[in-house]
């Protein structure tokens, strides 16, 4: 059931941003290095999702993020502020060690709603994690060029 829409695109040489959406939940999967070169793309994608109010929950999966710099964190804060304005719930999960370290140094870790895993994040929204996990893998196959345009 998860992944009614599934989009993915490269965000520079070292990062990948993909998006899964179903009903009330949008999940952005980030991987690689999120830095000054691609944080604008992250910000635009997540802000557009929040501003268009397509779903009531926007979550960001940071488990495959190798490195995130202050401009990447700035993008997440922008998204948090926009979600507060729009009444959308904004959640982070799978916060990798480098991302967690930076959130701690910047003292922003308590500002975000953070869960260890996708299942926990989904459970907090009243979704059944295992069903979504199964569906998620179904939708992890490569996307077509037509699908690659971010919504």
């Amino acid at each position: 059931m998860f992944g009614d829409q599934n989009t993915s695109h490269s965000a520079g040489d070292t990062a990948q941003i993909s998006c899964r959406r179903h009903d009330k939940v949008t999940i952005f999967d980030l991987s690689g290095d999120i830095d000054f070169a691609n944080s604008r793309q992250l910000r635009e994608s997540v802000l557009r999702e929040i501003q268009e109010s397509r779903t009531s929950h926007v979550t960001v999966n940071l488990s495959a993020v190798r490195y995130i710099d202050s401009s990447g964190i700035a993008s997440l804060v922008e998204a948090l502020k926009a979600s507060r304005d729009r009444g959308t719930r904004f959640i982070l999960f799978g916060v990798s060690t480098p991302a967690r370290e930076l959130l701690q140094f910047s003292r922003l870790i308590k500002v975000f709603e953070i869960y260890d895993s996708e299942e926990q994040a989904l459970a907090s929204m009243g979704h059944c994690g295992s069903v979504h996990r199964e569906s998620r893998s179904n939708h992890r196959k490569p996307v077509t060029r037509a699908q690659q345009e971010m919504p």
């Binding site: 190798r66 490195y67 700035a74 370290e101 140094f105 910047s106 922003l108 500002v111």
Partner: protein, 389 residues
């Protein structure tokens, strides 16, 4: 185009008759000449391009239509065609009414029944030349603008570098600093404000991102913080003011600022420290692992409630303590295996470098960072070192 003698009657070429109709519908001018450069055929497009009636062209010597200089050029091209069998070149075709038409000429040799002919096609490239000229003019303007921007950046870099603290020795304190923007200007800056021989306030600041935008925000904050430091207000109040300033006055910049601030009194051997979202400062003491001083306040410019900060830390200092402040350009460097140096890595480098004489410690730390780093720096980097004697 110069006046020419009346054309000689020319016998029609048999092989030409069947293809004449095809040559007439081409959008390119076509001229066929004999080996002796006598014009044997022109299509109506060439007549239109040159403005010379067909009866004046056919039978005439081709050289009659050009100035000596033009013909000299064409004769050189004809020689190339004869040598290579074909040739392509640009030419300005003189017109009967004095106009000049830029064309691309494609010429090739055709041999038929023991005779040699040249088939010449002329394509009007007026539009391409116009666009090329416009592009050339636009490029020249861009280059001029780029030179202006480079000059502006050079001056901006000079101004920013002049703001970087100089290494200073006063009383029982030595302050040593390093600043390297990844571009000509950047978002890092440091302030050193001496209150007297043994009391100094230090500030290390990092505006997110790098380049012109960050540098402009950095320069605005530099002025703000310098005023606050001189006024001697508490770090907590200063962070609150800076946070409001960033959110209200530089709204929409989407830039955050991290700050580490320290006030050192060498006589009392005390230091007040406060950080806002900044990587931890370090105090290196002997051969021990340096003590980390964590930020207690959130990054500035992110959220209005960031100003609800805790008090600053008060730390007792000992003789030969070295206080190290830096920005994330020092920690966020990667080795060839893609491993980040991080705070722990810098902590170890600082520990090792603290065994060096104080005047060599800064270079020792920088050498350690460079040794870890694979490739050139990708972020602005700043380092400040205070030696308490």
């Amino acid at each position: 185009m110069k006046e020419h003698s009346s054309s000689q009657p020319t016998e029609k070429l048999e092989w030409l008759t069947p293809i004449e109709a095809v040559l007439e519908i081409l959008n390119e001018g076509v001229v066929i000449t004999s080996q002796e450069n006598r014009v044997l055929f022109v299509n109506s497009r060439f007549v239109e391009m040159s403005g010379i009636p067909e009866q004046e062209l056919v039978g005439a010597d081709a050289s009659e239509f050009y100035s000596a200089q033009e013909w000299q050029f064409l004769a050189q091209q004809i020689a190339v065609v004869r040598h290579q069998g074909r040739h392509r070149y640009e030419f300005i075709l003189p017109q009967k009414d004095g106009g000049r038409l830029p064309v691309i000429i494609s010429s090739r040799i055709l041999r038929n029944s023991g005779a040699e002919f040249r088939i010449i096609t002329c394509s009007d490239i007026t539009e391409q030349v116009r666009i090329a000229n416009e592009l050339r003019a636009a490029n020249a303007k861009l280059q001029e603008r780029q030179l202006e921007i480079e000059e502006d950046l050079r001056l901006a870099a000079q101004v920013q570098t002049s703001l970087a603290p100089k290494s200073t020795v006063r009383g029982n304190l030595t302050v040593d600093s390093f600043y390297h923007p990844v571009h000509s200007i950047g978002g890092d800056f440091a302030v050193v404000n001496w209150h007297d021989q043994d009391q100094v306030s230090l500030l290390m600041c990092d505006v997110s991102g790098h380049g012109i935008g960050s540098a402009l925000v950095a320069n605005r904050i530099y002025s703000e913080t310098t005023v606050h430091l001189r006024a001697g207000i508490s770090f907590t109040d200063m962070f609150g003011k800076l946070n409001r300033f960033l959110i209200e006055d530089i709204a929409g910049s989407e830039m955050f600022v991290t700050v580490a601030a320290a006030r050192i009194d060498a006589r009392q051997r005390r230091m007040h420290f406060a950080g806002a979202g900044h990587p931890p400062a370090m105090i290196a003491r002997g051969s021990h692992s340096p003590v980390l001083l964590q930020s207690r306040s959130m990054v500035l410019g992110a959220l209005p409630d960031a100003e609800a900060t805790s008090d600053s830390l008060e730390v007792e200092l000992e003789p030969d303590d070295r206080v190290v402040l830096y920005t994330d350009g020092i920690t966020d460097v990667f080795n060839s295996r893609g491993e980040m140096l991080g705070v722990e890595g810098v902590q170890e480098i600082v520990r090792q470098a603290s065994a060096l004489p104080a005047e060599k410690m800064k270079q020792g730390i920088l050498n350690g960072v460079v040794a870890w780093r694979n490739g050139p720096a990708t972020d602005d980097a700043s380092l400040m070192l205070v030696h308490v004697r």
